[in-house]
Assembly symmetry: C2
Homo-oligomer: 240 residues x 2
DNA sequence: CAAGCAAGCTTGTATATACAACTATTGACA
DNA sequence: TGTCAATAGTTGTATATACAAGCTTGCTTG
């Protein structure tokens, strides 16, 4: 049989996969940068880049321009479950009202997403939500909204620019603390609605909502499938 | 909002999508080569390459080293339906026995594939079979078998080299004419069995079976998800 | 006529380079 | 202390180049 000579970028991919599988690189851990990998494996940056990029497309890594590359949340859990964990933590901190509100919204979101996606495709790979230390923060400031798109099929290539017009500002405003969590849920809903609106089959919308001005204490960013590199972050992964 | 400057490779992607959508480029049509696109859009070959590659990953195109790039079979049809069309055509040509045999096999294949895939994943994007003018040919010769892999997730990166060892020669032999069709069905079965054997979740095996020595009249190649570039070809697309 | 070789075209891999865009940190300054 | 500006680090885009690997065609040769 033909002897398959393993390509260099494949070796790097296998190396990274091994690190992830072995648990050495936990979820949300920072992966060596392109330059570091290039030097480590004695290849050019573009080769190391290719390895990172293909693993990103496979859903194992998440990349963020300016921040770096990180291990994705690939052990998919029910978003409902994880949102409920958030709600539990909120409740522990004594905000019963918000917790209840959030739980109700979580159920609604899951059902709505499920309905939406089953109409279009039944290949939901993973719907998961992760969160970190956002609950510590109190300050709110001006909020800006950005939209991006990754990994789509036919239709997306036409709609890319039109899509940027759809900016549901009203979903997000600066109010009392802890409302980011509920706002995030609404952002998920917004994304799902946008998908339905534009009749997109297989796409992955990526909403990034960030507090652009922040104090020295940290940044709050709400995101659907954005990089987990920021220290203080409440985000949700939504793949379909 | 931030003005999104459209990247060059995106423009090329949109151009190709528009050609496909408008019907100007039919299924299995040849797409301009990397060099042609590069010259047409006044970009480097690598940029044109990226556009083609991303569309390939999205399932719109199929590329084959040495042959070229072609429009994929993205309007998914039931493989059963298409295999039956082949059977019908065979019957029209007066080979009743083969037609009946083929139809029976088609049913078995579909059921088996469905069972296999539902065990692993329920995201069958498309299972389709296409064919062309293979039925004109009569000659048989030595047959060789190759295996390749595309588009997989975690597991595949470990199994790539082991996979090349599995070469079910016995599925293919040189016999009477028209047996290529049934052999192809068996090749599909082989691919499905290999997937189950290696416990692969999301992968796309690519069996290429080719008559290495051919007359000046043409080539017969049996393939699962191989490029439709050859003039005389009986192949099947199997995506999951 | 058949078989095999060689040339030319295609995609695949890899390197080196440059600049753009974005992020996070640092440090100066009011 | 808080704000702003500069800087370093990271990923994104693009070009130019070279060679490897595979396919197709055409020619040569027996």
């Amino acid at each position: 049989m033909t002897k398959v000579k393993t390509a260099k970028f494949t070796i790097i991919k296998q190396h990274i996969c091994q690190k992830i599988e072995s648990g050495e690189w936990q979820q949300h851990a920072k992966v060596p940068s392109e330059n570091e990998l290039a030097e480590q494996f004695s290849v050019s940056r573009m080769t190391a880049r290719r390895a990172l990029q293909e693993l990103t497309e496979q859903g194992l890594l998440i990349r963020s321009q300016g921040s770096g590359t990180f291990v994705a949340t690939f052990k998919s859990q029910s978003s409902l479950l994880e949102i409920r964990n958030i709600a539990d933590e909120i409740q522990e901190r004594g905000h019963r009202h918000h917790a209840k509100q959030l739980t109700l919204k979580a159920v609604a979101v899951n059902e709505e997403i499920a309905i939406l996606l089953n109409l279009k495709t039944n290949s939901i790979n993973s719907v998961s939500v992760f969160y970190s230390e956002v609950l510590h923060f109190e300050n709110d400031q001006a909020i800006q909204l950005e939209q991006r798109f990754v990994n789509s099929a036919l239709v997306k290539n036409y709609l890319e620019q039109d899509f940027t017009q759809i900016t549901p500002h009203e979903y997000l405003s600066s109010e009392a603390p802890l409302t980011e969590a509920t706002h995030e849920i609404e952002a998920v809903l917004a994304a799902a609605n946008i998908c339905q609106l534009l009749n997109i089959d297989k796409s992955m919308p990526c909403l990034q909502v960030k507090r652009r001005t922040w104090s020295s204490k940290g940044v709050v960013s709400l995101a659907i499938l954005t990089s987990p590199g920021n220290k203080y972050r409440l985000g949700s992964h939504l793949k379909f």
